[in-house]
Symmetry: C3
Subunit: 352 residues, 3 copies
């Protein structure tokens, strides 16, 4: 990661409420407060590290507005509303320099069908395939070894990383980012059991990814039986997630890694699912519902619900059950003591 | 999804027991009863939607034999044994028109070794690799960016979707469908711990997929240590499933998404595993056994067993345990009441 | 799997402590004691199969030093310290003959940037992409359809199987083996919630895989927010594992299939995680800690800890809780009996 910013460039990006002190030289690295060296940018993202500010060797420190004190000579403090977000904006600039988008055009090794339509401002990298009837929008970037199937469409300003597959008829709208190996439009998993065999139910719908969606590496999203499997505007899906056919995910949801959402389930807007969650099919998770990691959701959730466990139950109740389960040895002992006092016959011993 | 069927074509595909009414015009869409518009085909797949039949605007409705009443003018009812299956057969026809198999032959961008044997009726799409000694059978379709390794074989009428990898020596029989990104023949995960390091146990067996198997997107199937990892005839494996080395899956099994089967475990015929299930290695799940979603199976199951939970226990027993666990707060209270009545010393308070 | 060894070659590989009897002919197969036929090599890897030694038809049997008795005519026993390891070393030789490494050089269909540096002894297979600034070390083998991104580096003697993706700036050291479809360097999953939307936190760090690491098929390893996500020397990661940004895995760890490790968590050396485990972020699993399959780890573990369950608790305690949970029906009954004896009012009946 080689980059260089002048302190003035950092200030222009961050737009701080206040600048204290001044940094000399060039910013060439980003590090935590404790690890930072001269020439680094650092930040206070979590109040528990506040004591580390005094000792940091960073050249520039992003701090929350209202942070007291003054920097030592040669260090610059930028006071901002949200240091973590300010850092993100600096990093976004670095990201552009790390992954410079190649010039528009189609790499000679790519296989683009004569009936596909690639915007002249788009970049189709090495060894991509774009099939008949597919469309690639303005400034979108197919990085390499990407597959865009028959009559699929990719909107403007999308980034499809190596090995992404979008199958026939699927729709990817604008500013969508697909991590390496994401698979959009695999068949839904549906069979009829007929005469002792599983006969396939064809899956002739598609997948629609709305604006500003991000899909993680290796995640699979199945096409609908008919109609569409949908991921709503601004929703972010992590790696190795499975989204089954006819699922509808609302706007601005978060789905963490290795979670699976069964067929025809709906997530309303702003739902958050932790990692390794599973849901049954044909339920609705209400607006803003949250599910703790590794939970199994077997019924619909009200808007704003916060649940965990398998089967998932309200968070505080589940915490209580978890605590009581750990006291089962004590409870068995207490019951035995009561029985002894009452002169009851003890239960049969446990099977070995 | 653009398609057009005349009502007569639908009748020819569905072969109904009885036709009531008549539809005019062309069928151009498929939709649920409630969503259907003029020109759509709909169906009653689940009795709980029966009341929606009367109000549907669909041009043709697939209904179970014995459904009472008459369609309104311009609507046609087709009475069949299994409306869902009948719909599947219509959709299969649509699927063929959505994904027309390209003409036989090897795309010029594919890399086929001179010592590979590709049947003249097979299609090898763009940017595929077929290595030395590999065989591709009649009418099989390698869609694109597929890898078929050294001395691997693919039978007749298979469909390998974009990014499928079949590694050396693996055997794929006939009418097998591999979803995008499926990996057949990764190394089994085995090491000997020697002198403070994990020394690899080479995995020199292969994977065999028998006739009519389907493997989901991103699923990984490991090659055997020696001999074969096997998926039996007609079994269907969903997305992101992990099948370890030396697993043997019988005929007509169903394995749902994100399930993992550990090494050397055997599934007999007709076993069904829900999503996110895990099994330990070296056990046998008897014929027709069923395991609920998210369960952990740590011992062999008798034929016909139906289990869930971690560790998995008989379904009804596990349901009972789940219900009783939710009554733990009440039980602790009841014991405390008994203790108070008996004048017992209360237990030490919970640790904070 | 076609191979042939003379008995003398097997002896040279295995270096037995003692040879009893003699085998005629050529070794052409490997099988379990029960399945072995003439011409096969077999082994006693687990004492519970000891009785099968007498009846095996194998030509050569690998046995633990000290095994009593004599082979029948035409059979050869090789007595070794660790029969399973001895077999592994024979299999390693077979593996070389199954997957002969192609001659050095770049396949004409590969796309190697003019500013990439490929060692003349390395092999870059068909349809690989090696981007500007990337380096491929001595004798390394990119099998095919592999992506090595901008300024990434691969050391010596690595094996990257079909469809592996290594993204920009990532570092793969020496003797690393990456199974098909592994993704090294996907973006970490981090967002700031700003004005009702999730704003991406750019991920500008990288991934470092140290010497002798192995990564499973379809596994995803996220690049750090800044600095590095690290997998330490000799650690082995199974299929479909998710390793989040800024995770640091020590030396000689084992992580089984479908496990997920959340961001910024540290595994010290020799940690072992079973399959389908999940850990929260920002914790440390001490040296040699072990976690049973399907567990959820929500706090740091002491060195040598052995835990299971969700939340993960000491193994023996969790086994006890599991057993007691299965006795809940009995416990509720016992409490009801006590209540009846005490003349207490019974609790309200369960909701239906």
């Amino acid at each position: 990661m080689h980059f260089a910013f002048s302190p003035d460039e950092v200030i222009r990006i961050v737009q701080p409420r206040e600048v204290r002190g001044a940094a000399a030289g060039t910013i060439r690295g980003i590090a935590s407060l404790a690890a930072a060296r001269a020439g680094d940018l650092s930040f206070l993202g979590n109040a528990k590290y506040r004591a580390e500010v005094a000792a940091t060797a960073a050249a520039i420190v992003l701090l929350p507005a209202g942070h007291a004190g003054e920097p030592p000579p040669g260090q610059c403090w930028l006071l901002v509303d949200n240091p973590s977000l300010a850092l993100a904006r600096v990093c976004a600039r670095i990201e552009h320099s790390l992954w410079p988008k190649p010039a528009p055009g189609v790499h000679p090794s790519a296989v683009v069908h004569s009936e596909a339509v690639v915007d002249p401002s788009a970049t189709v990298g090495p060894l991509c395939v774009v099939e008949a009837g597919a469309q690639i929008g303005a400034r979108s970037h197919l990085q390499g070894q990407v597959w865009v199937g028959r009559a699929a469409s990719v909107g403007a300003d999308c980034w499809l990383m190596p090995g992404v597959r979008i199958t026939a008829e699927c729709v990817v709208k604008n500013r969508v980012r697909l991590q390496a190996g994401a698979i959009i439009g695999s068949d839904g998993f549906g069979y009829e059991f007929v005469a002792g065999r599983h006969e396939k139910i064809p899956q002739i719908g598609n997948v629609v990814l709305e604006d500003d969606v991000e899909i993680g590496a290796g995640t699979t999203i199945d096409r609908a039986r008919f109609s569409s499997t949908v991921v709503g505007e601004g929703s972010k899906i992590d790696n190795l997630v499975q989204i089954a056919h006819n699922v509808v995910i609302g706007k601005h949801c978060i789905v963490c890694a290795q979670t699976g959402i069964s067929g025809s389930t709906t997530l309303e807007d702003f739902v958050i699912l932790g990692g390794q969650v599973g849901t049954v099919g044909h339920i609705t998770l209400g607006k803003g519902a949250r599910v703790g990691a590794k939970s199994g959701v077997n019924e619909s959730l009200a808007p704003g619900a916060y649940v965990r466990g398998t089967p998932a139950r309200p968070f505080v109740f589940e915490q209580r059950l978890t605590a009581l389960r750990q006291r089962l040895p004590e409870l068995f002992q207490r019951v035995a003591t009561l029985e002894k006092a009452a002169g009851a016959k003890p239960p049969a011993p446990e099977a070995p």
